[in-house]
């Protein structure tokens, strides 16, 4: 009797369980999977914590090392390009890099042009300099380098002006403050103005240095371009040297360039004005036919 009662209870329990069990359809996970089958990483996190932690670390490190998501075109992108998995396609940087790998010197110039198109002047300058170490007499490349250096210097000069203007706005007292003995009697300068002056001067000095260096480097490159220019382009190249000398505040170089310009193109449309410019620079440029 007792056994029969136990069996009856077991049967009842089994029936009740079957009734509460969802159908096969209902058991399906919302996304179509089996809810009893956990996702790989969830199961790993619960059951093999050390493996999960290790994998998380590996992912984190590879993201950092490959620069995933940084958008700088480095890391993973360069690695894929380097491996040539997807070919170089229409990517000018990849094409130029392949040229360099193949031993083609012009690849450096192409790479510089590709960087110019991308707006990356620093890398473009670096590649052109690399190219010009090999092809020292390429006048066009020297002109390109000079133009890029000038562009960089212009940028620094513009930033310098901005900081200077900010200085005047943040520390206007310094403009009107007296100097010399009077300043000493008045008890020095305004500490707030001094603070901003110091802050901005710390920014101004490197910008001034970079702008000046940029213009000087640009002038040097334009001189090289003129030195190796084709005869038909020499006069214009000297005009470029003169303009660069004006920017770099190097009157001697400017005068030397104008003298050559007059010699090379004595019938230039602007010859009278160039003669006057020579006089203003403290020299004399007389075209051959006038001598």
């Amino acid at each position: 009797m007792a056994r029969a009662a136990v069996r009856a209870k077991q049967a009842q329990a089994a029936q009740a369980q079957a009734a509460t069990k969802p159908s096969r359809k209902q058991r399906k996970h919302a996304s179509g999977g089996n809810p009893n089958q956990d996702l790989f990483f969830s199961r790993l996190r619960r059951k093999q914590k050390w493996v999960f932690a290790g994998l998380a670390l590996v992912f984190a490190l590879s993201f950092v090392l490959l620069g995933v998501g940084s958008g700088n075109g480095g890391g993973l992108e360069q690695m894929i390009q380097g491996l040539g998995i997807f070919g170089n396609g229409n990517d000018p940087v990849g094409k130029a890099q392949a040229e360099i790998k193949a031993g083609n010197t012009a690849g450096y110039k192409d790479l510089a042009n590709a960087y110019v198109t991308q707006g990356n002047t620093t890398l473009a300058v670096s590649e052109l300099e690399q190219y010009l170490r090999i092809k020292k007499t390429d006048s066009v490349a020297w002109s390109q380098l000079a133009g890029l250096k000038r562009g960089q210097a212009d940028k620094y000069a513009a930033e310098y002006q901005q900081v200077q203007q900010a200085n005047q706005l943040e520390a206007p007292g310094s403009i009107f403050s007296p100097g010399g003995t009077l300043a000493g009697k008045l008890g020095g300068t305004n500490p707030i103005d001094d603070y901003y002056n110091q802050q901005n001067n710390a920014l101004l000095s490197p910008l001034y240095r970079d702008a000046t260096t940029g213009y000087t480097d640009s002038l040097a490159a334009y001189k090289q371009a003129a030195k190796f220019a084709k005869p038909s382009e020499q006069a214009n190249a000297e005009l470029a040297v003169y303009l660069a000398a004006q920017r770099a505040n190097q009157p001697k170089d400017g005068l030397a360039a104008l003298k050559l310009y007059v010699k090379l193109d004595p019938t230039a449309l602007n010859i009278k004005q160039i003669e006057a410019a020579c006089v203003s620079l403290g020299g004399k440029c007389v075209p051959k036919h006038k001598k």
Binding site: S143, G147, A237, Y242, L269, N270, Q273
Partner: protein
């Protein structure tokens, strides 16, 4: 600003070439080609509009000088529109401000050609 070039024909002889962005060693050849095309099509009164130009270099000056020489042989003229101080300064220090007619606005330059404006 990216380089751009637009050419507009005002009459059978008058053209306006408008340049935007930097006109330098990289972009000046395109400008040269456009200027030569305009002259080849019979353009004798050419206006080069630098209103939206941010920079010019000696290559640009070379193209302009070459253009004015060609136009003068056909009794033509090359005028410039330029209001940017940095660009006008380049014309001044090279003495080319005396070679070209430089106008502050496009309308002034077109008026000087005697072409009715639309």
């Amino acid at each position: 600003m990216n380089f751009d070039i637009q050419t507009e024909q005002l009459s059978s002889e008058a053209y306006v070439i408008s340049l935007s962005g930097e006109v330098d060693l990289y972009t000046a050849p395109e400008f040269k080609q456009q200027l030569l095309e305009v002259i080849a099509q019979g353009g004798t009164n050419v206006v080069v509009d630098f209103t939206n130009t941010t920079f010019i270099d000696s290559t640009t000056l070379g193209v302009l000088v070459g253009g004015v020489k060609r136009l003068r042989t056909n009794d033509g003229q090359l005028s410039l529109v330029c209001s940017d101080r940095n660009i006008t300064k380049i014309f001044e220090i090279t003495g080319l401000d005396k070679v070209f007619e430089i106008y502050a606005t496009r309308d002034e330059a077109i008026s000087s050609l005697g072409v009715p404006q639309g």
